[in-house]
Symmetry: C2
Subunit: 135 residues, 2 copies
């Protein structure tokens, strides 16, 4: 798998963990050797692994854990780090996200997730992305 496919695979794993409410997979995805951050839609920034993972526990374990689809993911590589831009459909709302990754021990791990509203026409999104492994 080339580097771009690896990063998209990590991005896909993030949405699979999110959509599936899989807190263990979500925890494994986030970096341990780099300081992490997270900006949920409309929220102020969360900084550091403890705050970020607490937010995921609340979101994924809550009674209204959202279904989420990822569309049109594009990876931007910068050596040992990378970011992915993609669109999210969450309960009928369209969001746009930037997901930042670093390589830790040979694996791409998340250091930052930033999602917020987007005015793109949903029809132009097409179908949800297939798993990165078969792209």
């Amino acid at each position: 798998m080339n580097e771009r496919a690896e990063v998209l695979f990590a991005n896909d794993a993030f949405y699979a963990a999110f959509d599936g409410g899989d807190l263990v997979a979500m925890d494994r995805l986030w970096a341990r050797d780099s300081r992490v951050a997270c900006i949920h839609p409309g929220w102020p920034a969360l900084s550091g692994r403890e705050e970020v993972m607490e937010s995921w526990r609340n979101i994924l374990m809550g009674e209204s854990a959202p279904d989420i689809d990822c569309h049109k993911a594009e990876a931007f590589l910068n050596g040992e780090s990378a970011f992915v831009i993609c669109y999210e459909m969450v309960g009928g709302d369209l969001l746009i996200a930037t997901n930042h990754f670093v390589r830790e021990g040979g694996e791409w791990r998340m250091t930052h997730h930033h999602a917020g509203p987007c005015s793109l026409v949903p029809e132009s999104l097409g179908e949800p992305d297939p798993p990165a492994s078969i792209q």
Copy 2:
């Protein structure tokens, strides 16, 4: 100047160029050796230097170029790349932004800007950040 201060200095230069409507400084700030992207508030993603710089020309040269203040900038370092999270006050609206940088030829250059609405209480923002050079 240490690495963190260098990154915050580059972030500060971005807001100085934005607030001052300085298209030349804005152009100089963006990376040339890495593919860049930009998500203005509510917009779909812009991808590649041409699209991104065209958006800045339209924003900075427009009749209603906004005043902007940066607050509470925090830098997250990952070797030769970094991202900064900060709050923006733009014409009374509060936004939150992630700005990504890479090192090119010894200088920190922008590869991505993602800004969107934020619900943080503006009173807790405090005064705008001073220039990074004197932090």
